[in-house]
């Protein structure tokens, strides 16, 4: 019945995929979008910023160029996206509007109302699009990044790793969190585990980054300069 899948598997296995892996920082891309806070009470403000990376530049935190509500959002939120001196933000409407949206969406009485926004971001020379969901009508903060170590030492700018040896990357987080390790030095393994592995086969200089996502839309990130010697 689904022989196509089996054949597709064989073909995929036979493909020569030499494209850039997702953990590579030498690539124009969005790494994460952060809403601060990810869940906000009525009339509260959510600030948006983005972690991007670009070829030859490494990771950086930037402001979106444009933000807009995604189509088919809940009613009463049309004016929620604003841009002011502090940058792009989402302003939660009053409690009555949030409550009405809850009813319209069939949510529980205290559940936050999800609001998805689209963002346009520049990474290097590339304009990229992303979507992010913020939650309105309750309060929750982004997680702390947690302690990060590289080869047993706390992560910090200017750290080095030995060439030809696999070193361990650790982050103090929980199994409910989603972890992403990224690097522009060496090869990364176990990139979505609490303990990742990095091995550099040649001297190089670049960056190491890690993103922690909790199950509630919360995001934390960190990035540091790194050299392999």
């Amino acid at each position: 019945m689904s022989k196509t899948l089996a054949i597709a598997l064989v073909v995929v296995l036979g493909a020569c995929d030499d494209t850039t892996p997702a953990w590579q920082l030498e690539h124009d891309r969005i790494i994460a979008v952060r809403a601060t806070p990810p869940t906000v009470a009525p009339r509260g403000r959510v600030d948006l910023d983005v972690l991007v990376t670009a070829v030859g530049e490494g990771p950086s935190v930037v402001q979106p160029m444009q933000v807009a509500l995604a189509p088919n959002g809940p009613p009463g939120f049309e004016e929620s996206v604003i841009h002011d001196d502090r940058g792009w933000a989402v302003i939660a409407p009053d409690a009555d509007t949030v409550a009405a949206s809850r009813v319209a969406l069939g949510l529980d009485g205290s559940a936050p109302v999800p609001l998805t926004v689209g963002l346009l971001v520049r990474a290097g020379q590339t304009d990229l699009a992303a979507v992010k969901t913020v939650y309105l009508g309750a309060e929750r903060a982004n997680p702390e990044l947690g302690d990060v170590t590289v080869d047993g030492e706390p992560a910090a700018d200017g750290m080095t790793v030995p060439v030809g040896e696999e070193v361990e990357l650790t982050i103090d987080a929980t199994d409910d969190d989603k972890i992403d390790w990224l690097s522009s030095v060496g090869d990364l393994g176990d990139v979505d585990d609490l303990v990742g592995h990095l091995e550099a086969t040649a001297p190089a200089e670049g960056f190491l980054a890690v993103v922690r996502r909790d199950p509630f839309g919360g995001v934390a990130w960190g990035f540091w300069t790194l050299a392999a010697r």
């Binding site: 019945m1 689904s2 022989k3 196509t4 899948l5 089996a6 054949i7 597709a8 598997l9 064989v10 073909v11 995929v12 296995l13 036979g14 493909a15 020569c16 995929d17 030499d18 494209t19 850039t20 892996p21 997702a22 690539h27 124009d28 891309r29 969005i30 994460a32 979008v33 689209g118 590339t126 990229l128 699009a129 992303a130 979507v131 992010k132 969901t133 989603k178 992403d180 993103v211 996502r213 839309g217 995001v219």
Partner: protein, 742 residues
């Protein structure tokens, strides 16, 4: 169906022994009343009292004073043995009613062999047939049936077999065409591994390719048919063993009782012994079960005077499991098997103007594919098909000649046990799954049901010759797809006109249906069959002895195509058209065998009202296959050139990052709005034969794509769809085989 008319002197064999060997007759062969004249080859005078015997039966006729003879109810393809007390025996393979003049050489005239070849009318406009010897001469096919199908005009040039039928015919979807073995469908025609046919070439007698316009006796396909006829055992007995880098097998055949014969064969893959050695250590791939397959075939024939009985069994068993990474990650584990066994029993009866045939075929089939710990599909099918047909032939009726009237019926019941949890499989025209492999997050289709698909069909047709040049056929097939409650009336007809002595034109038109049974279509009992209306006009010119030119143009209108609506639910809402032309030139002269096939095609569809027209997934405007094979002494050399337009694909133009899920949603361009690169390649083949005592040995080297022009099958993308990589076929495929035959 190709039939050779062969007149050969058999040394020292003046006595006619009809039961000494079995006729090599396809199960569904048409019967004719054959007539002809026997003359002395030396003097040209009629031979009176010569015996004409139907091989494999006790039926004989004797020539009259003018050397004339008539033999009624002879299957097309059957062998007649003709001889007399003063002449050596000649072999005549029945082509049409008029056998013409058969010249007998006087007894002891020597070892000279005279061979004349001709061909019976093709079963449909644009059809072609190849026998076992032809398949074994085709460069670039490694002696494989599935690979050989691709040299046929109108067949898509894909890098590996697709769908269940293995072929794309006239730009349609692979599921629109069927492959039958001895008249019954098989679940698949090729092994999952190495894509070899489930029937070794040595186990087939011939196959017939009908790209469209086929008879009312065949249904359940809206495009084309491939009819494979298994090999009948040779009453003289024999055996064969063959091994190549891909597989190896043995077969044996011989007499069974006084009037019967048997054939048995079995094959096993050998590529599984080689694969572990050639997969690079750093490949993201590991096998827990090295891929392997088996297939087996058996056939028993019994000729009982007016009755012919044949029982065929074919089966296959494929297994593969492993990890798609080098860390033995359970989420990257895959496991798949395909197994089936089909039994076919048919009984044929003939007396005077009447012929009847009844056949029954049970099948068991199981398929399983698991990926990771949560995704998988298991399909088990058991069922049976029973079919019967009665035909009556009249010499002259109401001013018409050779009037053949047929009625038939078929009942099929299949129990389907389906258990699946998978992402939604991309349908015809849909972009591939994101990043190639399925992921658990994409599981959207969960189904666990058992249901029956009972289908019935009846048909009837009348064919007659109007005058010396014109013959027509009119018929109708009615399919009842009982699960969905659809009744499909499909009128079909054909008109052929002899324009000149060697030129025949044929026009056929008809309606066809393909039931909703592909992939997850079976989950929806309300889906109606897809519809097609075909019109085909062809001209056949026998340019010279052994040389034939066929040209045809066709138009197919398709409706009720099964496509998903905006909610992802299947609907019979698509329409499509296909038109094109085909040219086939074949030459068989002395040591030469040459073949030129060219297809011009355009196949488009609209998936739903208001949507834009797009190309079918396998639309290829141009496909050329040119090959030549030359035999000299114990050597045989062959080469083949193939050119094919690239198939359409849907490009990914970019993506949107879904930041909470940390994945990218692709933004696709127009469906099938671009094509992969066109492809051309040259294949070569060299055969060498030896004779060692009673044993014949042969070895072949078949090399596909000798100048390493790697073809692109499609494209994949990196994680954010900003980079593209190509799925390519193997750059070169050498195949080496050795065969011994007793």
């Amino acid at each position: 169906m190709k039939v050779r008319i062969t007149v050969a002197v058999l040394l020292g064999c003046a006595a006619v022994s009809p039961a000494a060997a079995q006729p090599d007759t396809p199960a569904e062969a048409e019967q004719v009343d054959v007539h002809g004249t026997v003359v002395d080859a030396a003097t040209g005078t009629p031979v009176a009292g010569a015996t004409v015997a139907l091989e494999g039966s006790d039926r004989t006729r004797t020539t009259d004073q003018d050397g004339r003879w008539v033999f009624t109810g002879v299957p097309v393809g059957a062998t007649l043995l003709i001889g007399s007390e003063k002449h050596a025996v000649a072999i005549l393979i029945v082509e049409t009613a008029d056998a013409g003049e058969v010249a007998l050489l006087p007894e002891g005239a020597g070892a000279e062999v005279i061979v004349m070849e001709g061909e019976a009318p093709l079963a449909a406009v644009g059809a072609a047939s190849l026998d076992r010897d032809d398949v074994q001469r085709m460069p670039g096919t490694s002696n494989d049936l599935a690979a050989t199908l691709k040299v046929l005009p109108g067949v898509g040039a894909t890098s590996f077999p697709v769908g269940y039928s293995g072929v794309v015919i006239r730009g349609s979807s692979p599921q629109d065409s069927k492959v039958t073995v001895d008249g019954f469908e098989v679940p698949t025609i090729y092994h999952d591994i190495a894509f070899r046919s489930i029937l070794p070439t040595e186990a087939i007698d011939s196959f017939e390719y009908l790209p469209g316009g086929f008879d009312v006796a065949y249904g359940r396909a809206s495009s084309g048919l491939v009819r494979v006829t298994t090999r009948r055992g040779d009453g003289r007995g024999g055996g064969q063993a063959e091994v190549s880098l891909i597989d190896g097998g043995v077969l044996g055949h011989g007499p069974a009782g006084d009037h019967g014969s048997f054939f048995v064969g079995m094959r096993r893959s050998t590529v599984d012994f080689i694969l572990p050695a050639i997969i690079p250590d750093d490949a993201d791939l590991g096998f827990t079960t090295v891929p392997r397959y088996y297939d087996a075939q058996a056939r028993l024939d019994e000729d009982l005077g007016e009755y012919q009985l044949a029982i065929t069994a074919i089966g296959a068993d494929d297994l593969l499991s492993g990890f798609a990474d080098d860390n033995n990650d359970p989420d990257e584990h895959f496991y798949t098997y395909t197994r089936f066994l089909r039994l076919i029993a048919w009984l044929r009866w003939h007396r005077g103007a009447w012929t009847a045939e009844v056949a029954a075929s049970p099948i068991v089939h199981a398929f399983r594919f698991d990926y990771g710990t949560k995704m998988g599909i298991t399909v088990k099918k058991e069922g049976a098909t029973v079919r019967g047909e009665v035909a009556h032939t009249s010499g002259i009726a109401d001013g018409l000649r050779d009037v053949v009237a047929r009625v038939g019926g078929e009942v099929e019941a299949i129990r389907n046990d389906i258990d699946l949890a998978l992402p939604v499989v991309p349908d015809e025209g849909q972009p591939p799954m994101a990043n190639g492999l399925p992921s658990e997050e994409e599981i959207a289709n969960v189904y666990d049901e058992v249901h029956w698909t009972p289908d019935v069909a009846v048909w009837g047709a009348v064919s007659a010759t109007f005058d010396e040049r014109v013959r027509g056929m009119a018929g109708v097939r009615v399919d009842g797809f009982l699960r969905s409650g659809d009744v499909a009336v499909q009128p079909r007809g054909e008109l052929s006109a002899k324009l000149a002595a060697k030129t025949t034109a044929r026009l056929s038109a008809g309606a066809y249906r393909r039931p909703a049974e592909f992939q997850d279509e079976l989950q929806d009992p309300t889906l109606a069959p897809e519809k097609a209306t075909q019109v085909v006009l062809g001209v056949e010119q026998r340019a010279d002895v052994g040389v034939k030119v066929q040209a045809s143009v066709y138009y197919t209108d398709r409706s009720s195509l099964i496509t998903r609506d905006e909610m992802g639910v299947y609907q019979n809402q698509g329409r499509g058209t296909t038109y094109g032309g085909e040219l086939l030139v074949t030459a068989r002269r002395g040591p030469w065998f040459a073949w030129l096939a060219y297809s011009l095609s355009r196949s488009t569809r609209v998936d739903a009202p208001g949507e834009r027209e797009r190309l079918f997934d396998y639309d290829q405007p141009h496909v050329v296959n040119a090959l030549a094979s030359y035999q000299r002494g114990k050597w045989q050399f062959g080469a083949r050139f193939t050119y094919a337009s690239g198939t359409p694909y849907t490009p990914a133009l970019g993506s949107i990052y879904e930041s909470d899920g940390d994945y990218y949603v692709p933004i696709y361009g127009g469906v099938n709005s671009e094509r992969v690169e066109s492809h051309h390649q040259v294949d070569i083949r060299v055969d060498r034969m030896w004779k060692i005592g009673a044993m014949s040995l042969s070895a072949f080297l078949d090399v596909q794509n000798v100048y390493l022009n790697q073809s692109t099958v499609g494209y994949g993308y990196n994680f954010d769809y900003s980079e593209r990589y190509a799925f390519t076929a193997f750059p070169i495929i050498p195949s080496l085989g050795v065969r011994g035959e007793l």
